[in-house]
């Protein structure tokens, strides 16, 4: 396989096709519409299902229906659309069907704008719908990473029969980068035993999130919590840059994490021992490793394209062991290397490292 120049939205959409995506249902919204457009041609070409729904509410429920048959199915959207999907996401979680949702975050609240943002962190990791559940949330920082995460997302969704979200942002969706797509995989033709397919020669299968009676629903919840605990144990992911000798740790994910690589390079040139911790799973949050790093470094600078949503998770993990500073931009503004650097330098001074 060779690398090619790919736009993020096209890249993840094509990666999904090559990972054996059986059906896609979606509704146009910037900054992810190129994914829907790409799939409108490619899925039909491959004899698979593509349908533009009348709303994100309909789209997620079409996804839910298809997921009940056990096939690989996904949708993609951005903030306002994700909000409309929330009820469906909760039903999907309660029914334990595998689904992948890509959210290319844009500026909010409200109609906001179409520029990149990371302000849906809390929505995705903590409150994607009513009831006790978390989606597994993956956060790519490059086109190659979102391509790889699509395959991983389907694998994890099916392994745990759970909802997996990919938390991209407008810049991951819109930028072009050279990357390698996976080889073409056929659509899986086996049907999981729990799925609906017509009760031929067996008792009927029912896929529902309705459990009347507190004991029954609590039993479901206990099962879900046990599954989430297992996901926490097995699937936490993060990457680090130059953390071995770091005194000051940058903590950032996705596009902000990528920007922080430049900050790190510049800071190191100036003689600052800066490292980067970039979570690849936002839920489960890579707590254990961050906690180890909290014992090693002397201060942390959290960088986000939000008012500080992941910041609260960092504070929760660090428990006051080292000072934590925050650099955030909102409303579609992108953090600038030199501005982050100013905050890094002042933190370095504060902790006596400069």
């Amino acid at each position: 396989m060779t690398e090619q120049l790919l736009k993020g939205n096209v890249a993840f959409a094509e990666a999904a096709v090559r990972n054996g995506l059986r059906a896609y249902f979606g509704y146009p919204i910037t900054p992810q519409s190129e994914a829907l457009e790409h799939l409108s041609g490619r899925m039909i070409e491959e004899g698979r299902v593509f349908l533009q729904a009348e709303s994100e509410i309909a789209a997620i429920n079409m996804v839910y229906g298809a997921a009940c048959t056990g096939v690989r199915v996904m949708t993609s959207t951005s903030g306002p659309g994700l909000a409309l999907m929330a009820e469906g996401l909760s039903y999907i979680a309660g029914s334990e069907v595998p689904v992948v949702v890509v959210n290319m975050m844009r500026g909010g609240p409200g109609l906001g704008n179409i520029q990149p943002s990371q302000a849906d962190y809390n929505f995705m990791t903590k409150s994607a719908g009513h009831g006790d559940f978390h989606p597994l949330v993956l956060a790519p920082a490059s086109i190659q990473e979102i391509i790889d995460m699509v395959g991983l997302a389907f694998e994890l969704a099916e392994k745990y029969r759970t909802l997996v979200m990919i938390a991209g942002d407008g810049s991951i969706g819109q930028m072009m980068e050279s990357a390698e797509l996976p080889p073409m995989q056929p659509v899986r033709d086996t049907v999981p035993e729990w799925a609906v397919s017509g009760a031929k020669g067996r008792e009927p299968n029912v896929v529902t999130s309705l459990y009347l009676g507190a004991e029954k629903l609590e039993a479901l919840n206990l099962r879900l919590q046990a599954k989430l605990a297992e996901i926490k144990r097995n699937e936490t992911r993060s990457v680090e840059v130059a953390t071995e000798d770091a005194d000051l740790l940058l903590v950032a994910y996705g596009t902000a994490g990528r920007i922080c690589v430049s900050v790190l390079r510049e800071a190191r040139r100036q003689g600052l021992n800066v490292g980067l911790f970039r979570p690849q799973t936002l839920w489960p949050y890579p707590e254990e490793r961050l906690s180890e790093l909290a014992d090693q470094v002397k201060g942390m600078l959290v960088v986000e394209m939000s008012a500080g949503q992941m910041l609260e998770d960092v504070q929760r993990v660090v428990q006051g062991r080292v000072p934590i500073r925050f650099h955030g931009r909102m409303g579609g503004a992108i953090p600038m290397v030199d501005e982050i650097l100013v905050d890094a330098e002042s933190l370095a001074k504060e902790i006596g490292q400069w």
Binding site: A23, N61, Y64, G88
Partner: protein, 263 residues
């Protein structure tokens, strides 16, 4: 849930028995409720068409949320109003299977209006059975989109004032205008003749799907004795008189191909 047992005495042939597509559970519906009647009609139709093992139902949110306890096929449970979208997802994966939604009037004509209109308009190859009892049964008798003018409900205590609460929605008349619908009819399942007609309509609607003709919906005028504060017998009469008086029992759309189906 009570299991219903039937025993056929030695040497006798059953002339009337449980459809295979109906489970042996007694329903949780109130006495005089039409949900149970229509469940049985669907089960009989699935048996007659021989498609039980090839059918996937989509349950609504409403009193009939537990329909999968009674109809002996694969089922999924939709969120309130979204059954047609879920059915779309399933049917697109399984074009050769029989997919149907069963929905109350609140489910289909209020919160789920967008989904049913677009499913119909796409000519989605699904069958929909819509139960019109002019009220929200499950949540305790509030106004439904179908509640008649002047009708007292728990959220229209002085009667539905259309100037304030809006006018009753005539769903079948609306669906009949969609290009993708091939068969849209309203029936009443409150007396023997009506029940027989309803069954025939349901069968035709499933056949339209099986023959790949397009979207079909059977709206059934029903009852809710509990929330109407009537006894079962009065409720049946009230339904015929008042619901039937406002919502004409009529076939609003039937293409020639659907008409030609042998039912």
């Amino acid at each position: 849930m009570t299991l219903i047992k039937t025993e056929i005495p030695e040497g006798m042939e059953p002339i009337y028995s449980y459809p295979e597509s109906l489970t042996r559970l007694s329903t949780h519906y109130c006495p005089g409720c039409v949900h149970g009647i229509v469940h049985r009609l669907i089960a009989e139709v699935l048996d007659e068409l021989g498609v039980r093992e090839n059918t996937i139902g989509v349950a609504p949110v409403g009193c009939s949320v537990l329909i999968y306890n009674y109809i002996n096929t694969d089922f999924v449970g939709a969120s309130h109003g979204r059954a047609p979208a879920m059915a779309t997802g399933i049917k697109r994966i399984y074009p050769d299977k029989v997919v149907f939604t069963y929905q109350g009037d609140g489910d289909i004509a209020a919160i789920g209006t967008a989904e049913i209109i677009h499913a119909a308009n796409r000519g989605e190859l699904i069958t929909t059975v819509a139960i019109n009892n002019a009220i929200y049964g499950m949540t305790g008798g509030q106004m439904a989109p179908t509640t008649l003018p002047g009708m007292v409900t728990t959220s229209t205590p002085t009667g539905r004032d259309c100037a304030v609460a809006g006018y009753p929605v005539k769903l079948s008349e609306i669906l009949a205008q969609t290009a993708g619908a091939v068969y849209i009819t309203r029936e009443s399942a409150t007396d023997i003749v009506g029940i027989r007609k309803t069954k025939k309509a349901i069968k035709r609607a499933f056949l339209a799907q099986i023959h790949g003709l397009g979207f079909a919906c059977v709206e059934v005028l029903a009852t809710c004795p509990t929330n109407w504060n009537l006894d079962p017998w009065e409720a049946m009469q009230w339904s015929r008189e008042h619901l039937g008086g406002f919502y004409p029992v009529e076939t609003f759309k039937m293409t020639d191909e659907v008409k030609a189906l042998k039912v």
